[in-house]
């Protein structure tokens, strides 16, 4: 069983990451809507993002916030909806966090640096 202090910390990180996500999602959507007004190909997108530190930094923060927030929520959902026990839900959350982190950062690398 996770101790009480860790529970409070996890809840706090869930809250902070949700605030970051709220900001990131709004910026992400606004940029998409603005950028594709006149139609945009994949090559044009990559031309703009490649080598951009602003894009790189923004999406790295986005990925980190997802890797914190989503696994916490997922652990909660499997416990409440499917009756999983805490060790199993924590393990799933850990694996999923790692997956999001690797896939997300790999995407950022692909769009900005590769």
């Amino acid at each position: 069983m996770t101790d009480t202090v860790t529970q409070v910390r996890l809840w706090y990180w869930g809250r902070i990451s949700s605030m970051v996500l709220a900001f990131c999602v709004l910026v992400h959507l606004a940029v998409i809507i603005y950028a594709v007004r006149g139609g945009l190909t994949g090559a044009e997108v990559l031309a703009r993002t490649h080598g951009s530190w602003t894009f790189g930094l923004f999406y790295t923060v986005f990925v980190l916030a997802c890797a914190v927030h989503v696994p916490l929520g997922m652990a909660r959902i499997v416990r409440e909806s499917f009756g999983w026990r805490e060790p199993a839900s924590n393990a799933l959350a850990g694996v999923f966090a790692l997956l999001l982190l690797v896939l997300g950062l790999r995407s950022v690398y692909g769009v900005v640096l590769a």
Partner: protein, 237 residues
């Protein structure tokens, strides 16, 4: 008024079924009046629980047409415009018999949330001075009128999903004591309500606040506990 009410009442324990009764409709009739009529005039074997009949004791709560309510102050006119009632024991609690729910777990959770007052003074000490307008006293005032009816607990989805969750009533009680400046068991209490099945398990859906017959806001009390647990943790770093 001469029409009859069609009343479906849960009979049995966890296993059982609804039995339909015809009950005469009266002016200003409450749901508790309906149940009492069934027991006294139709079926003396019906079990239900009540005491004060005036919204003070908190013992008559039931599920009325799918919604947990205190029945002594719920008028039939408000909940059954089509003269049909379905009465069941409170959800999220084991059934003792018919409309009687087993409140053991509900009150055990009050104890687990350290819902007992723990003072340091004796009868030989002077009265404690509590400023009525102080933020702590006002926060305590907002939650202190709880009558332990169990309506919030029965309406809470988190309790349904996670039966170990302490529930809105116990957490509301803990919040009123945390704001009691005379109490000396605060650290212990905060630890008890901040754990896995404590305040952080609440999703802030607000069913407890919407259904509370005393118009209390356990959701706000739980938010207060969440905030306090985080600020305490940061202070201790």
């Amino acid at each position: 008024m001469t029409t009859n009410l069609e009343v479906k009442v849960w009979r049995g324990k966890e296993e059982g079924g609804f039995v339909t009764y015809e009950v005469p409709r009266f002016d200003s009739q409450t749901v508790l009046d309906v149940v009492t009529h069934i027991q006294r005039h139709i079926d003396p074997g019906l079990s239900y629980r009540y005491a004060c009949r005036v919204g003070m004791c908190g013992s008559c709560a039931m599920n009325v047409n799918g919604v947990a309510r205190w029945t002594c102050r719920t008028h039939v006119a408000k909940v059954a415009p089509d003269n049909q009632l379905e009465l069941a024991p409170l959800p999220n609690l084991p059934v003792v018999k018919d409309l009687v729910a087993d409140m053991t777990e509900f009150f055990d959770k009050w104890a687990r949330a350290r819902g007992q007052f723990k003072g340091s003074k004796t009868r030989h000490d002077d009265f404690a001075m509590v400023e009525p307008g102080s933020p702590e006293r006002r926060s305590a005032d907002e939650g202190i009128e709880c009558i332990n009816c169990g309506v919030c607990y029965a309406s809470c989805d988190v309790v349904t999903w996670r039966p170990d969750f302490l529930g809105p009533a116990a957490l509301n009680r803990a919040w009123t004591l945390i704001n009691d400046v005379r109490d000396v068991g605060q650290a212990e209490r905060l630890l008890a309500v901040s754990g896995d099945a404590g305040c952080h398990a609440c999703h802030t859906q607000g069913s407890c606040t919407e259904r509370c017959p005393k118009h209390l806001a356990p959701t706000a009390a739980i938010a207060g506990l969440k905030h306090l647990s985080v600020t305490t943790l940061r202070r201790q770093k």
